[in-house]
């Protein structure tokens, strides 16, 4: 069976600012219809990677493809197929919200006025307001409207919710789910970079964790939560000598043990059980906890 052309294909991407390498040999592939997370700390190389997809930067080594096309060679076609919410949203401050949206719509072949109206109401934005007088959260909301209305096949979000208050962050994500994800199932692809992972947890299908420009972990989100677990055990006396090499991290405190595991959960649970613990429990790590556990390991 032929797999469809990936929405995004990055192969061995390397980019350096002068001698400072921002992205090193990064490869990842996003299938159409998926919501893909690019997780990393500040300065991990997320924005640089996205800028290469948007042809704002040219890869120095390796290549990037958007729906099979090289953004440097097919700039117009690539830009038509995607919309982008940058981490720093900037509009002409003298334009009103209405003028800004009309201006941005003029570059697009398609613009869904119904969704525009729905989102303006949902975010309680005043179309007459000058964008220079908007709060950071409101500017991001306008940028999201401008990204959703063209109904492109790919939505690229670069740290969209950082610096926003919790309510605005929630509304942002609900709008992405409600307004952008409508249409033919499996035809709207999302690439989101963030270090605020918890909010996007339910949206993410698959993710790559990058650290200092390198891909550290790429996994399906459900599979990640199945593999990464926290196991807690309490014994009647101080814990016996148990081989816990397979754990990522072990914490001991008196009669208690806490393990962080990646895939070795069932095996270690069995080993702990053999020593008749008073209490033994396990829970999955959230994607944010997986992020921390992986980068601290």
């Amino acid at each position: 069976m032929n797999s469809p052309t990936p929405a995004i294909q990055i192969e061995n991407l390397t980019y350096a600012y002068g001698r400072a390498e921002a992205v090193h040999d990064l490869s990842l592939s996003v299938q159409p219809g998926r919501c893909y997370g690019l997780f990393g700390r500040n300065g991990a190389g997320k924005t640089t990677t996205m800028k290469c997809l948007l042809n704002l930067l040219r890869p120095q080594r390796g290549q990037v493809r958007v729906f099979g096309l090289d953004p440097a060679k097919h700039e117009v076609a690539v830009k038509r197929s995607l919309s982008y919410v940058p981490d720093q949203v900037a509009f002409y401050p003298w334009m009103s919200v209405r003028e800004t949206l009309d201006y941005l719509a003029s570059f697009r072949a398609n613009w869904n006025r119904m969704i525009e109206q729905e989102l303006l109401e949902r975010f309680q934005l005043d179309p007459a307001q000058r964008t220079g007088n908007l709060s950071k959260g409101q500017r991001t909301q306008v940028a999201l409207i401008a990204a959703v209305c063209p109904e492109t096949d790919l939505l690229v979000l670069d740290e969209p919710t950082s610096g926003l208050d919790p309510i605005v962050r929630r509304e942002f994500i609900e709008a992405v789910i409600g307004a952008y994800q409508q249409g033919i199932p499996g035809h709207r692809t999302i690439l989101v970079s963030t270090h605020l992972i918890a909010e996007f947890e339910g949206l993410i299908d698959e993710f790559t964790l990058i650290d200092r420009g390198r891909a550290v972990l790429t996994l399906d989100a459900d599979l990640a939560r199945e593999r990464f677990q926290k196991i807690r055990a309490r014994f009647a006396q101080s814990p016996p000598e148990i081989d816990l090499q397979a754990a990522l991290r072990v914490r001991r405190d008196g009669r208690e043990l806490e393990l962080i595991v990646n895939g070795a959960g069932p095996e270690l649970m069995e080993r702990l059980r053999q020593h008749n613990p008073e209490a033994l429990s396990t829970e999955s790590l959230t994607l944010e906890e997986i992020f921390v556990a992986t980068l601290k390991a």
Binding site: I177, Q181, G186, I204, E283
Partner: protein
Amino acid sequence: MILQINFKSGMPIYLQIVDQIKAAAASGALQPGEALPSIRPLAEELRVNRNTVAKAYSELESLGVIETLPGRGCFLKENQSTLRKEVRRKLLIEEVDQAIVQAHHLQVPRDEFLKLIQERLDALDDKRRAHQDHKED
């Protein structure tokens, strides 16, 4: 029917939705013929991917729990299980076996385990009755 996603359960999100809707149907919280929430508001409310909710619904449909009426949405089926008796038994045996293994590990003896099952069946009947009374009020 209020659904709740727990990212710490280790269970795939779409299966959590499937299980909770099955549980709601078994307890009477969701009545035959009653409409399920449509995909968009449910996805927004749970803040999960719409494809995940769609996957849960298509799984429920293939299990014969719900049916989709074009243009009208998804509804709990009147006559729920279309699976043959042996298949139904087999599916249930897997779940029961898991509970037995768990009971063993938690050192719950046989009669206590059986008593617990009785209690849970009674509790479910009570819940059903409560929903029925509520409906008749």
